[in-house]
Symmetry: C2
Amino acid sequence: MSKRQLMDYIFYPDSIAVIGASKDSEKEKAMGWVGRLLEFRYKGKIYPINPGATEILGLKAYPSIESVQDSVDYAIITLAAPLVPEALEKCAKKGVQVVHIFSAGFSETGDPERAKLQEKVKRIVNQTNIRAIGPNCFGVYCPASHIICNRGLPTESGSIGLVCQTGMGMMLLMRLAKNRGLRFSKGISYGNAVDLSAEEFLEYFMSDPETKFIFTYIEGLKDGRRFFNILRECVKVKPVVILKGGLSESGASAAASHTGSLAGSRTAWQTLFKQTGVIPVESIQEAVEQLVALVNVPSSVGGRKVALVGRGGGAGVVATDMCDREGLSVPRLSVDTKMQLGKIIPSLAGSSVENPVEIGLGAFGFSEHYAEAIEIIGSNPQIDFIITFFIPAEYEEFLREEWLETATSQLLMAKKSLSKPLIAVVDPGGSMEVFKWAKELQQRCIEMGLATFLSLEDAIKAASKLIKYYEFKSHETE
Amino acid sequence: MSKRQLMDYIFYPDSIAVIGASKDSEKEKAMGWVGRLLEFRYKGKIYPINPGATEILGLKAYPSIESVQDSVDYAIITLAAPLVPEALEKCAKKGVQVVHIFSAGFSETGDPERAKLQEKVKRIVNQTNIRAIGPNCFGVYCPASHIICNRGLPTESGSIGLVCQTGMGMMLLMRLAKNRGLRFSKGISYGNAVDLSAEEFLEYFMSDPETKFIFTYIEGLKDGRRFFNILRECVKVKPVVILKGGLSESGASAAASHTGSLAGSRTAWQTLFKQTGVIPVESIQEAVEQLVALVNVPSSVGGRKVALVGRGGGAGVVATDMCDREGLSVPRLSVDTKMQLGKIIPSLAGSSVENPVEIGLGAFGFSEHYAEAIEIIGSNPQIDFIITFFIPAEYEEFLREEWLETATSQLLMAKKSLSKPLIAVVDPGGSMEVFKWAKELQQRCIEMGLATFLSLEDAIKAASKLIKYYEFKSHETE
């Protein structure tokens, strides 16, 4: 069985057996895998396995995997941990290609008996032709195959591939990212990794044409050297964002009780980040911000020189300090640019024609000269890209339909006229009323294809890491 | 005039003249100072000054300040910048105690003519008995006196005093903080600071009994040595959070065009932070987080050893790394504690009795053993305080009234039974539905008096800085 075929069985199986499907239809519908496969209209054959049932959710049920006459590509084992080895042996005998061991209760418990049980599972996998995902994980997410491992996840495909040791982390990322406009090609969570692990999946995602960007959450590794080499190759063809759980000593011990992983030292990992050119992040939330930047900011962003354009009580001053800290520069604008800006921006409090540029409010709480100002700033050769920020809590009294419409049309014009990347920040902080209007404007920005952030700090950090990645890449290919 | 009297005139004036009140009542009502003083029921006398009006918003108007017969404590000048010197001279002659120069258009414009105008204003102040706030600022906020400098700010008093060079920054902070449960004793924004500046106001707030906590946003200083000494004294009696705009070279140049300030070097400021024991933050948003921690976490927090209790896809592992980075430790629990926890937390995926403790979901998406678990963890001598985290996007399917009620009653029980500080994180990320329920739970947590954050990272950073402050203080008083 070649690698390509293996991954086909995993992401595009023609048939799935669910070993341990419940005969309680309410329960199976609400919590079971048969329930989920049906709900999301999986197109292949589904074989519910339960010795006490003849039918589950309208499908013929089988007493055991051997009693299924046709071949089975993929089996999901949802039995209690002690029952897993026997089920696995039966799957191997039946010729099932891949099993996903959903069951938890192995080495992550810290119990030596359970660690032995995991060793037994591992031995069976090694001694047979079967391949395994898990135990203690959510397995596959693949909207193209209608395999959606939980509710609340996007059912449409996108361009981001997810390789996550923890299924809950993978799903959390998708749920946080969904209303930020992100979609995913495929996802895999592989838990305690008795067999298949990050290395195999990253290698597959590297050449998967559906996947343009990769995010990976790692707690531990099987083979550090191999992982390093794969990551290095991967980064040459697509950006990889990495979140390493267990970088600190106590974090490593937390990882041990989470997925039974050995975590490795912080220094070793930081060296790996640097040498491979992966983009490290420090939380699932930051991963979402970084992916927003990767998907929406063109890779042609020319350099680190940013113009900050917005309005807000020292926000520009503070953001300038943040840029400096993150290795971006906020250069002075040319005299010519300032003169042009001076003509359209009134010299009131809350306005400034120097970078950071502050544009006063117009009649609807949004200057009608905004788009023109962006065009003037963008034509400045000192500037590589623009971060524009809106903090509606500052002018709550203006928030109504006219504000939203003016903001939307001005932003759209600005985006069209600008030949350099434009990044938007719409801060939702403040009252419920502010949140509601900020959310609306964010949505409009996302629909325009703007990289849209909720805070200046998030935008600046994500842009900085993005630029460092492109610098690394251009340096590598020189 | 002693200091105490000066500040009384500023925060509790018996009469206010508004020089440049508009005779257009619509405009004055919507945007003017007379409109705001009336709207928020300022109890003193209001004297609108406009040579072309006899009445403004139902109040007798005066052609000039001299024509007011009674004495005037405080005057707000809202005229165009070139008209300010003459108005100021008239105020001085009339014996007005303090003027707030709201007008902008001075040295912050970068125009040499305007800088000269500011020098002229400064000269008048120096040569007369009058004291001045501004120009280019929003002046006083003092709910006890019903002086509310803009709409959307809290009208109830609280315990935080604000000393902000920028009025927009001060108001933004209040607007962001309002629905996080924070309230303010007094606020002052002093803009270009031709006379009164951070030094005078900090000195006053230090001994003001209404003010228990201080936040200050500084761009530049008049007298660094004096500022340092005041800050040092201040920190001995109440915590001071500081945001310094213009720490970087380009940030400093941005500050120059914002409030015409000279900013000082990053190193000098970092030394000052360290030696005075102030709590530095890097944005208005972070200032809000830090104040949430200061106001709600008891100063008795004993040390840096934290238990993380929650549930979430590697969130505990990642948070452990964050704690390590911020100088907090996540110690192992005693065997005894773990055994006790093991009895009530089922050993399922998503549960762990090791720190970070993960508690599986109960029937309503919130374990009915939560409060008990918190009590057990809190009784562990290895633990100084607890950060408990909820990421509702992870279990969106459970979010309904029962979830909210179970969560509320369990959290209330936990808070009551625990003798150590408890900090809550309720992450609002995800869909609108998640946001709605998260917001509700946040509100309940705030009402219980819990320090409530929107992300683990915010909570960990704020707790760490809080503890460092208390360590500094106890070290100083030893």
